[in-house]
């Protein structure tokens, strides 16, 4: 066990996979010599060479397309999109090609690609460095979608994603790179070394896709969330002194609906929370599944906590960010009602 922040954990996962599997290659903007604008690939080009860790032109569409070709030719590319806000130029190749090659070729061709991309707000990045577009990708049949909330999961999930023969879009909540964040920007930042999930095995290990994790067991209500909001949810529940069961979805597709629904059947009350905008966000799918499967157990309407339906504004970062207060209001609502 070693203490790692999320960047180091991701770096370790890629280091291990580059070492274990000669077909793994990394590609992306500024990821090679420089080691990436968030340092996630630091040292890897020096260690594995310019032909395993490729600096690319600034063309997300070209990065995804060439990664697909490499995947079809037996490599296992891990492509970094510098910010999730910049994944859209690659959208057609992801949706029309990457997600469908196995299907349209009746399983004869496939491209085992992992697309890593930092997402989410809380770093004063303004509208083009703060987006959480994961919901869009969960609507695309053929893609797996993952978002870790801590270094231990980040490493294990990334290794599993790289080894997975299906395409995975791997979202990294950049606000969590250096430490857990409970939504309060005024508190001094704390490092991952202070958090149990900052203790990470140095070697190879997997965290399976398709399994949610109960971060905090509880009886009064179920709070379903993922990414940065896991930590905000825990803090809000503690501040509100409610015995909430908090679940980290981790893998949005495939989704572990059993763990979610088992919990809601027990608590009878449910909140879904994410940073992404609310309207047609992934929270709507989570809410829908719980409603469909647990309707008769619900003692109050399921509440959604999310970012407002506007672009992410630079000056109003903390009025925009779904912090502890927004969760608290939802907690009140689910507990009070009826």
């Amino acid at each position: 066990m070693a203490s790692m922040n999320m960047v180091q954990a991701l770096n370790s996962a890629m280091d291990i996979m580059l070492g274990r599997d000669p077909s793994v290659v990394l590609m992306g903007e500024d990821i090679g010599y420089f080691g990436g604008v968030f340092r996630a690939t630091e040292g890897l080009q020096r260690k594995y060479g310019e032909h395993r860790v490729l600096d690319t032109p600034i063309a997300e569409g070209g990065i995804v397309a060439t990664a697909i070709g490499m995947g079809v030719n037996g490599l296992r590319p891990v492509a970094e999109i510098q910010f999730a806000d910049y994944i859209y130029p690659g959208f057609d190749q992801i949706v029309s090609e990457l997600a469908r090659i196995r299907y349209r070729s009746a399983g004869e061709f496939h491209a085992p690609i992992t697309i890593r991309t930092p997402c989410g707000g809380g770093i004063r990045g303004g509208q083009t460095h703060s987006q959480s577009p994961e919901g869009i990708f969960t609507h695309v049949s053929g893609l797996k979608v993952v978002m870790p909330s801590n270094p231990f999961d980040a490493k294990g999930l990334l290794i599993t994603s790289i080894e997975d023969d299906d395409p995975v879009v791997f979202f990294e909540p950049k606000r969590l790179y250096n430490g857990p964040f409970d939504g309060d920007p005024h508190k001094p930042a704390i490092p991952w070394s202070t958090h149990p999930k900052g203790q990470v095995e140095e070697g190879y290990y997997r965290v399976p896709l398709g399994l949610a994790e109960i971060v905090r067991p509880g009886s009064q209500l179920t709070l379903i969330t993922y990414g940065t909001m896991v930590h905000v949810a825990v803090a809000a529940a503690e501040a509100m002194k409610v015995d909430a069961e908090i679940i980290d979805v981790r893998s949005l597709v495939p989704l572990d609906s059993d763990t979610l629904c088992t919990s809601v059947r027990k608590t009878g009350r449910c909140i879904v929370a994410h940073e992404a905008t609310r309207f047609s966000g992934f929270g709507a799918e989570l809410l829908s599944i719980v409603q469909e499967e647990c309707f008769w157990d619900l003692e109050a309407p399921i509440q959604r906590v999310a970012g407002w339906d506007t672009p992410y504004p630079h000056a109003f970062e903390w009025e925009y960010f779904p912090g502890q207060r927004r969760i608290a209001l939802a907690i009140r609502a689910v507990l009070e009602s009826a």
Binding site: V25, H51, R52, T56, P57, A59, G61, G62, A65, T66, A67, I68, G69, M70, G71, V72, N73, G74, L75, P89, D92, Q93, S96, E97, I101, R102, Y103, R104, S105, A106, G107, E108, F109, H110, S141, G142, K144, D164, D165, D166, G210, V253, P254, L255, S257
Partner: protein, 416 residues
């Protein structure tokens, strides 16, 4: 907005009712264009992108430095593949009209592109075709029955009923799955070639798009990544002058040739008579040698003509001159190779007729076998459970549930 518009709009030479006008097509004499060293630098051979490489002259003889000097047997094989491609297209067209298949796309007039290029490459080279490259599949030796079963979406469809007709693929024949989304295969081929280079393997990748599709972003990404990493790839633009109803001028062809895009990226661009089997073969061979010797990518513009409708859903008489193909200056690829072989004393009308009859019989018998595996309208049907497979490698639970629902739905009496 009362002032007159100054917007330039590309001119389309001949619309219905007008007489065909191909004066815009820049031609070179057969044999006139020099053949540079395979190792030549892109910037030193930019002229190739505006000239037109031609080998067959008006007497149907092979002339000039680009003559690939193929022996008659090879030429006869090429002729055979082209004739088979055309007969296959004819038959499928008629079967679509007969309601046996939902849709079809012919390559009439463009057979030399796929057949000659395929023959100039080696079997291990990976091909990323468009939907109008059936000659590649035929030249690579896929059984007609297999192609027909795909077109029929029947129980032996290689795509398990998931793709429109003509969207073939073949792992053993190194033919990538065809996409309905234009141009996406172009940069994928570059990635495949980059991987071959990374693995230190000798195979190259080749891809085809139409001139209209060259407007898509994928075209730019393909040229850029091919140039930056000097990937062993051949990027082919099939300029058949039309994109459905839209003339090639709207894809940029009015200002400059499509091959000329290459030099701007430091990639050699070469413009070739796409209906000249020998020229297409020679240019492809040259590009392949470049790729195999580490000289990098090549962009080839194949100048040809879409003699038929865009697809079975299209009616060209609405947007172009009716008899245009008769006026096309580069003739018909099958006719030209046939005349060449006859000029060489290696072919005759009789042998040609015999070939046509033999291949027609093959097409008919193949079709008869194919339909035993089902058609759109009757015969055996694919199991609809297949719809839920291959979305992922293993079926996730939510798809298992949906498959169960679909079965329940199918068993349900209706109307209730």
């Amino acid at each position: 907005m009362n002032r007159r518009s100054r917007l330039h709009v590309p001119r389309t030479p001949a619309r219905p009712g007008q007489r065909p006008d191909f004066s815009y097509v820049a031609l070179s004499e057969a044999g006139a264009v020099p053949r540079p060293e395979v190792a030549a630098r892109a910037r030193d051979i930019e002229e190739l992108s505006v000239e037109l490489v031609r080998v067959l002259d008006d007497a149907a003889l092979a002339v000039g430095p680009w003559n690939p000097h193929l022996d008659p047997e090879e030429l006869q094989v090429g002729l055979r593949h082209m004739v088979l491609t055309r007969l296959y297209d004819d038959r499928m067209q008629r079967m679509q009209r007969a309601g046996k298949i939902s849709f079809y796309i012919r390559s009439l007039g463009e057979e030399a592109v796929s057949v000659a290029q395929c023959m100039a490459l080696s079997p291990g080279d990976m091909l990323f075709p468009s939907y109008r490259n059936q000659g590649l599949h035929i030249a690579r030796g896929i059984a007609l029955v297999d192609l027909m079963c795909q077109v029929l979406s029947n129980t032996r469809d290689m795509c398990k009923g998931r793709q429109l007709p003509v969207m073939y693929h073949s792992v053993p024949h190194n033919l990538f799955s065809i996409s309905g989304n234009l141009a996406t295969q172009f940069p994928q081929a570059v990635g495949w070639a980059m991987a071959a280079a990374i693995k230190g393997e000798d195979h190259l990748a080749a891809s085809w798009i139409g001139e209209g599709s060259s407007a898509e972003a994928d075209f730019h990404h393909a040229l850029l990544f091919a140039s930056v990493y000097q990937a062993p790839v051949i990027l082919n633009i099939v300029n058949n002058q039309w994109a459905i109803s839209t003339f090639q001028g709207y894809a940029g062809g009015e200002q400059r040739s499509f091959a000329a895009r290459g030099p701007g990226y430091g990639v050699p661009g070469i413009r070739v008579d796409g209906n000249d089997f020998l020229a297409v073969y020679a240019v492809t061979q040259w590009a392949a040698q470049r790729a195999r010797t580490g000289t990098g990518p090549t962009l080839i513009e194949l100048v040809t003509y879409r003699a038929a409708a865009h697809s079975t859903s299209d009616d060209p008489s609405r947007y172009r001159a009716k008899d245009d193909y008769e006026h096309w200056p580069l003739g018909d690829p099958i006719d030209r190779l046939k005349r060449h072989l006859i000029a060489l004393g290696e072919w005759s009308e009789e042998r040609h007729q015999a070939l046509v009859s033999e291949l027609e019989a093959l097409v008919v018998s193949s079709w008869q076998e194919a339909v035993t595996h089902g058609t759109l309208t009757d015969g055996p049907k694919l199991d609809s459970d297949l719809m839920f497979e291959d979305v992922f490698k293993e079926m996730p639970r939510h798809l298992e549930r949906q498959r169960a629902l679909m079965r329940e739905e199918k068993e349900m009496p209706w109307p209730p």
